[in-house]
Amino acid sequence: MSGELAIDVTGLTKRFGEKTVVDDFAMQVPKGAIYGFLGPNGSGKTTTIRMMCGLLKPDGGGGTALGYDIVRESRTIKSRVGYMTQKFSLYGDLTVRENLTFMARLHALDNPGQHVAAALEEYELAPRANQLADTLSGGWKQRLALAAASMHSPGLLLLDEPTAGVDPKARRDFWDRIRGLARKGVTVLVSTHYMDEAVQCDFIAFIAYGRKLIDAPSGEIPERVGLITWRIEGRNLQPVYDALYHAPGVDQIARFGSALHVSGRDADALERAIAPYREREGLTVEPAKTGLEEAFIWLMTGSEDNFQ
């Protein structure tokens, strides 16, 4: 067991009936890091997170969260880990204050009233303290859920798509808070589908069909995927797009406003594909940095071939 790791699991496997949902999953999350957990819907992210916080027993493998065994010491983990479910799962027919008080008491905190007051203050929920949770907007619900999940000052936060369906401003606010928590030493594992959120993570693990495909510092991901990208700019790009879509050497093509990003792993083949457009009137072709989004779409496309 390492004191440096907030999560250290290997070989995690979970089957539901015939279906293997998580397959031989390993992950090492350093303390204080914000770790992004990405992957297509149904790839096993939620199941993995549930195993890490002691809600599900793995069928194989194991490890530790905050140094506690995820199988044998799941109750200790539950009192030290904060878990925010994908769907809002506090009580809609209780007020904000009642929900927080309930959570504080479930965690058997001393002086729950004080903790609740502190949380209301910190998350600026005080003006809404007596509002029923159901009547909050999506963004405020997420904020309440985060307040509830961190009520007991957990050392590790597991956030399962916390910002799904929340407007951009509320998402930015939410991430400010996550970074604030990380600065205080809280480790955060967060699953998301948003690229603007993924780039804010220190590390990213990508999972598809229950298997981890890549796990690296977020800045290194595009490089690891090994895609080379050219940017083609100009007017009337639709014919170019259509022509290049199935061209040999082009692994992926995407529109970015008035430009196309054409990516491929084989530099020579890619060059042959785009060569005809270099000389074309009204088009400019220049090298571009492969973005996270392109890298992930590429990973998702590839994983379908591999695992479906």
Binding site: L55, R75, V81, K87, S89, M103, L106, H107
Partner: protein, 368 residues
């Protein structure tokens, strides 16, 4: 015509959803079938073959003719002949028999002398419907039985009828204690199953289980309030029974408390069991109905238990409501004590143990 095709689309979609929800579909088919079978075969509003004890003070030909006539009438089933008053009292108290016919000593002699001897019919009128038909038929039946011997004399005997426990034959006396059983079945089982299913349906169960809260703590915490609700219902019903309908409370409060507590536990565990099967509150409610319906029809609440065929009685015996209603009627109307209702307490305890065990086993499974 686009309106029509839209309606067709709605109809098609509705059928698909109906068939997908197997429990609802099962209910749509199951409830009518169940009602049909129960009302058609099990329920008998004119019950016959009711258990009868005869206290024979005289066994001459006249007495035997009366017994013969009672049997052929189909209203009475001779459960035994006794000379012990204590035995008949106990049997009636426990609800084993509905009628006691007492033929006094020297009945034959007095009859032949034309002294108009009395023949006594004690009926358990706590269920006026069950005893009604037999009671009504009895005087004529005796008369007819004696006709061949005595010819058409003016009434040769005086039939005295004693409606025990409910001399005025008021149905409220029978219905109100029974209602206690039906209402507790309905609300306790349904409320707990829905309250527990709600946590799973809304996802709040996951929040709970992600805290150090233990499953049994969730369980006890969720169920305890409903125990209190159950007792409040009981108090309301008892007060209503007493002050609105003048239903007496003659028996032992201890016996009542034991029966009610046990019965509330049975229904809570039933609700708990349903919640481990149902995925939505709607399903939980539907499951409750499958128990609720026979609990009304086969428990002796609405229709006389003794009037049902043997198979329906056996089915009824498996329902906790049957035992509870039986016990509570005996306690309230007949002054039964704990010992008297023991034959109903044990089955309740056994049903509770069985349901609670299955529910606990299932509850553990659903966690993973």
């Amino acid at each position: 015509m686009t309106g029509f095709s839209r309606i067709l689309a709605m109809i098609g979609k509705e059928f698909i959803q109906m068939l997908r929800d197997r429990l609802t579909f099962g209910m749509m088919v199951g409830i009518p079938v169940m009602q049909l079978l129960l009302f058609g075969y099990a329920i008998n509003t004119d019950p016959r073959h009711l258990p009868t004890l005869v206290e024979m003070g005289d066994s001459g030909p006249a007495s035997r003719a009366i017994l013969q006539a009672m049997e052929t009438s189909n209203y009475f089933d001779l459960a035994g002949i006794t000379t012990s008053r204590a035995q008949t009292e106990a049997a009636m108290q426990q609800g084993d028999i509905l009628f006691v016919v007492t033929i006094p000593p020297d009945f034959e002699r007095d009859l032949l002398r034309g002294a108009r001897p009395q023949i006594l019919l004690d009926t358990d009128a706590s269920d006026p419907v069950a005893a009604g038909a037999g009671t009504g038929a009895f005087p004529t039946l005796v008369q007819r039985a004696l006709e061949p011997m005595l010819g058409e004399m003016t009434p040769p005997v005086e039939t005295v009828i004693q409606r025990r426990y409910n001399p005025a034959g008021r149905t409220a006396l029978n219905i109100v204690p029974g209602l206690l059983g039906v209402i507790l079945t309905m609300t306790m089982a349904m409320m707990t199953s829905m309250a527990l299913t709600r946590e799973a349906e809304r996802g709040t169960l996951e929040t709970l289980l992600a805290t150090p809260t233990r499953p049994y703590e969730v369980m006890i915490g969720k169920i305890t309030p409903y125990i209190l609700v159950g007792f409040i219902q009981v108090v309301i019903m008892l007060a209503g029974a007493r002050y609105l309908f003048g239903v007496p409370f003659l028996g032992s409060p201890l016996a009542f408390l034991v029966s009610v507590s046990l019965f509330i536990l049975v229904n809570l565990s039933l609700g708990f069991l349903f919640s481990t099967i149902a995925r939505t509150q709607m399903q939980a409610m539907q499951m409750t109905f499958f128990v609720f319906l026979p609990s009304i029809l086969l428990s002796g609440f609405m229709f006389p238990f003794a009037g049902m065929p043997a198979w329906a009685q056996m089915l009824g015996q498996a329902l906790p409501t049957t035992h509870f209603i039986h016990a509570v009627r005996a306690i309230m109307l007949k002054g039964a004590r704990l010992g008297d209702v023991a034959p109903d307490i044990w089955p309740l305890a056994a049903i509770f143990a069985a349901i609670a065990t299955v529910a606990m086993l299932r509850y553990r499974r659903t966690l993973d």
